[in-house]
């Protein structure tokens, strides 16, 4: 290639760069455009896009553009884009960062437009995760919580109490030594939470920042799981989610504690069922897992807030929620769709709907994010390595407290 050709090439490249830079101001459309970010895939994404097209039909003056963002890049992207005005008008995401976002102005309080009638259509426990310092910040689309999956071929009926669970698991294991009893990640606080709350423990004492993990009730929950692992031997060691899925699909696992996403992993499996979590025999309390909410939130820097709110309300009407429930198999936060006869027949939906009553909202305050890693250490030390549970919890509480300073 001759030198002059090379020069010409680079001159073109450089001008192309300039042109690219100038081209950022697109001509305005007569219709206002709303931008919605989400991280849905597959059937859920298709259901969302269909809902947006239906919305556009009711509002000819608006266009909605949906952009799919990978899940792990989502919070960072929001954090950098929204304050600079480059973010969406609405986005759909889990609720756990509502506290952070409210403090930094990334989300808009919608109390200005919302009223009690609007809120009444949802389960109350799905609305409170979206309230921060007395303000409502979004509308819930769906909830996620944990329930008990079991293999009907290994276990005839779902257990009502933990003693029943242990007995059934041991029986299954006795019948076939290759079979394990209960599979879930024992060192994850999210999966341990049902037992923690079932035994009467809690992470934080009410709404303030005092860590309440180092209580005898919490320690009892850790001791319980250690018993299951070491004495009753019904939990496999180093149970990762991939392993649990593989074992359950091979019918070598009687019980799994997991959420609605687990159904997607059971594509080829025709022998599974789901039931609400049992009651803890020692205390008589139901095992209460964390409840997470997937919500539609409005950006604080949006330039079309009124229209964005209209879209939010449309997406959460009972009619739309029924679509999502029946077609997308999404656990919607609206109450009415579950009374639909088709929904009532579905055991999967019934089980999770039952679990909503017995769940604890995952706190949306920034202090919650500091808890996971120290608790992972505490659970691992106490359950797997046999450290005294109360000591392990005290260490974790100290680490969390220190991080707050």
């Amino acid at each position: 290639m001759s030198a002059s050709a090379v020069r010409a090439l680079f001159a073109t490249l450089a001008w192309a760069l300039c042109a690219l830079g100038c081209g950022e101001r697109a001509p305005a459309d007569a219709r206002a455009q709303l931008v919605l970010w989400h991280s849905y895939r597959g059937a859920e994404e298709a259901a969302l896009l269909a809902a947006l097209r239906r919305f556009e039909a009711t509002r000819p003056d608006l266009r909605v553009r949906a952009v799919s963002i990978p899940y792990d890049a989502f919070p960072n992207k929001l954090g950098v884009a929204v304050p600079r005005g480059n973010g969406p008008d609405l986005f759909v995401f889990a609720h756990d960062r509502v506290g952070d976002w409210a403090e930094t102005g990334i989300i808009e309080p919608i109390g200005f437009w919302a009223d009690e009638a609007l809120i009444d259509r949802f389960f109350r426990t799905t609305v409170s995760p979206l309230v921060y310092r007395g303000q409502l910040y979004g509308l819930p689309l769906a909830f996620k919580t944990l329930a008990l999956y079991y293999d009907p071929g290994l276990v005839p009926a779902p257990p009502a109490t933990t003693d029943d669970l242990v007995a059934a698991a041991k029986a299954a294991r006795a019948a076939d030594p290759q079979v394990w009893g209960l599979g879930y990640e024992v060192d994850s606080l999210y999966f341990h939470a049902p037992w923690l709350h079932g035994f009467g423990g809690a992470v934080y004492a009410d709404e303030d920042d005092t860590v309440a993990l180092d209580s005898p009730a919490s320690a009892a929950s850790l001791a319980f799981v250690r018993r299951l692992l070491v004495e009753e031997k019904i939990i496999p060691e180093e149970a990762t989610s991939a392993l649990v899925t593989a074992l359950f699909n091979d019918h070598h696992l009687a019980f799994v504690i997991s959420g609605p996403w687990f159904k997607g992993e059971l594509a080829g499996n025709d022998r599974w069922a789901v039931a609400p979590l049992p009651t803890v025999s020692e205390t008589g309390q139901p095992a209460r897992p964390f409840l997470g909410v997937e919500a539609v939130l409005m950006s604080g820097h949006s330039r079309h807030k009124r229209s964005a709110f209209a879209l939010m309300t449309f997406l959460t009407t009972d009619a739309e929620a029924t679509h999502r429930l029946l077609e997308g198999s999404q656990l919607v936060a609206n109450q009415a769709p579950y009374d639909d006869p088709r929904a009532r027949e579905d055991a999967f939906l019934r089980a999770f709907r039952g679990q909503v009553e017995h769940s604890v909202s995952l706190s949306n305050r920034p202090h919650m994010r500091r808890v996971w890693t120290p608790m992972k250490t505490a659970l691992s030390q106490a359950i797997v390595h046999g450290q005294d549970p109360l000591e392990a919890l005290r260490d974790a509480a100290a680490t969390i407290q220190r991080a707050t300073e």
Binding site: E103, R133, G134, E238
Partner: protein
């Protein structure tokens, strides 16, 4: 070393570099000014609305003026529309929104209205507690609201100012700057009649470039401010608040050009003694320009973060507190896995072991694969590069699965030779070994490729002469291959060790820091502080410490490179 003959720098030599640089600079200037103008328009609209609202709140007389303007549709695209609210539930609803923006800590009163808190918040808002996010309500309309007496709120909506009607203004500034830059380069590369012509020319044109930029930015700022002031005066009789300084914009754009100018000036000054330096600077500067803008500026911002404390979205300056806390290993014994020193030790061990293994395996394979008589060389090479080619997210998780205690392949293979199943992730050394194994598998292809290229630089006749002298293969390796490989292989080893030091993915995915954070390296700790604990300042301080450690390391390797350069004389 440089003979006089190399002075024959034909003009053709350096045109490509400076042309490219100038065009790039022009392009960058264009996009910067475009952005600048857009942000100015936003700011001006908001100020105009605020000024109008404040005036209305003080005095009812402008109300008529503004209303008349609104009726007539007067003014450049900046059309205030006034609403003066009477006491009504609507006021509280709107003020509720204001309340949370201005004072989040007062927002704990639920959804019911609270008159006192509302008024206090509205006062604060009116006093200039700016939260730009609330000013955009619908379309291009900015809204400002201030209390206008005990029972009323003055709300002014202003439509966004289209102040980009004069792109010619900044385009001229940019073109002038670009032409001046081109002149600067030509002055550098052309030998003038007097030894002072070139340096003087370079200095003058450098100053000219900066001046052009400053002028362009200031002119644009002045134009937009004048428009805002004029409009505010016309509507309310009160001048707008003072604008944001244009200086910071010019500085941001000038900063990356500064190294350019410094190079130019130095080059020009030494032009009288050794003219090849001009050529050298011409060659080097395009690469340095990108570095300056895209690495030095973000790094500066990152370092600034290290001196702050992040809490609920606000950053407060805390001086060296973050560094002190990390270095004192606060709350942990020095040997505790979460202390800085333990993590530093683990990181150094991790880096050293990995680099040694990568280099040894890569070099060994390259030596085998370059035998001219080996058949299927190409096939082997392509197969051995696969670990580098496949995305490491999935392969790292596959390796993690292979190390599973009960169902993993590694334990299965060990079981075949009678070894008890090892809990790989429950003790430090085994988890560390799992990490190192995975990273070695991922990293040796890169070293192999580099070594293959490096081995080509050794002339074959050296080996043939050694054969004639009767040297063995091993002696040839030690005395010919290794020393002559150094200049070509050392960069990859040095840079490879820096990358391994900061290798986040593998540690996070394979061992996840197990057991209990022991196998975390410094970069993973920094990440946890930033994204799991929201302590951005702390994480930034960690990053600065990582950088300082690596800087010290580079001081060492500098000597190695110097001696390696000497290998070829």
């Amino acid at each position: 070393m440089q003979t006089g003959a190399l002075d024959a720098g034909a003009p053709r030599v350096g045109l490509l570099g400076p042309l490219l640089t100038t065009l790039l600079a022009a392009g960058l200037a264009l996009v910067v000014f475009g952005r600048f103008a857009a942000e100015r328009a936003d700011a001006v609209t908001a100020w105009a609305a605020q000024a109008a609202a404040e005036a209305l709140a003080r005095d009812a007389a402008p109300r008529a003026r503004v209303a008349a303007l609104a009726e007539a549709g007067d003014g450049p695209a900046l059309l205030p529309r006034v609403v003066v609210d009477d006491p009504a539930p609507r006021k509280y609803a709107f003020l509720r929104v204001l309340r949370y923006a201005a004072h989040p800590e007062r927002a704990g009163q639920g959804l019911a209205p609270d008159r006192d808190a509302d008024k206090a918040a509205a006062d604060a808002f009116g006093r200039g507690a700016r939260r730009p996010d609330l000013r955009w309500v619908g379309g291009d309309v900015a809204r400002a609201a201030v209390p206008a007496g005990p029972d009323a709120v003055a709300v002014v909506d202003a439509r966004r100012a289209e102040l980009l009607a004069s792109p010619a203004l900044h385009f001229v500034a940019v073109l002038a700057g670009a032409l001046l830059g081109l002149l600067a380069w030509l002055a550098l590369l052309r030998r003038g009649p007097s030894r002072w012509a070139a340096p003087a020319g370079a200095a003058l044109t450098g100053a000219g470039v900066l001046a052009a930029l400053w002028w362009g930015a200031s002119a644009l700022a002045a134009a937009t401010d004048a428009a805002a002031k004029g409009l505010a005066l016309r509507t309310t009789g009160v001048p707008a608040p003072p604008p944001v300084a244009a200086g910071e914009w010019a500085l941001l754009f000038a900063a990356p050009l500064l190294p350019l100018v410094v190079f130019a000036v130095i080059g020009a000054m030494s032009a009288s003694r050794r003219s090849p330096h001009r050529v050298a600077y011409a060659y080097v500067t395009p690469a340095m320009l990108g570095m300056a803008v895209l690495i030095l500026v973000p790094f500066g911002l990152g370092v600034a973060l290290a001196f702050t404390r992040h809490e609920h979205g606000t950053f407060t300056f805390v001086g060296l507190q973050n560094f002190v806390r990390i270095l004192k290993s606060e709350g942990f014994a020095l040997t505790h896995p979460l202390s800085f020193y333990f993590t530093l030790g683990v990181t150094i061990l991790w880096t050293g072991l990995n680099v040694a293994l990568h280099a040894a395996i890569g070099l060994g394979l390259a030596l085998i694969l370059r035998e001219p008589t080996l058949r299927l060389k190409g096939v082997y090479r392509v197969l051995l590069i696969v670990p580098w080619a496949v995305p490491n997210y999935i392969t790292a998780l596959i390796w993690k699965g292979m190390f599973n205690k009960q169902y993993g392949l590694i334990n299965h293979l060990l079981g075949l030779v009678g070894v008890e199943p090892v809990g790989w992730f429950s003790q430090f050394w085994t988890a560390f070994a799992a990490n190192v194994t995975t990273n070695t598998w991922l990293g040796f292809p890169f070293m192999m490729v580099v070594a293959l290229g490096a081995l080509q630089s050794i002339p074959r006749d050296l080996y043939e002469a050694a054969d004639v002298d009767g040297a063995t293969r091993w002696q040839q390796f030690r005395h010919i291959t290794l020393p002559l490989l150094r200049p070509a292989l050392l960069p990859a080893i040095i840079l490879g060790s820096v990358w391994t030091f900061n290798m986040f993915n593998i540690i996070y995915l394979v061992s996840g820091g197990q057991p209990n954070g022991a196998t975390d390296i410094l970069i993973v700790e920094a990440y946890r502080w930033a994204f799991e604990q929201d302590r951005y300042g702390y994480a930034a301080a960690y990053s600065v410490l990582i950088f300082l450690v690596l800087l010290a390391y580079s001081g060492l390797t500098n000597r190695l490179s110097r001696s390696a350069e000497g290998a070829y004389g």
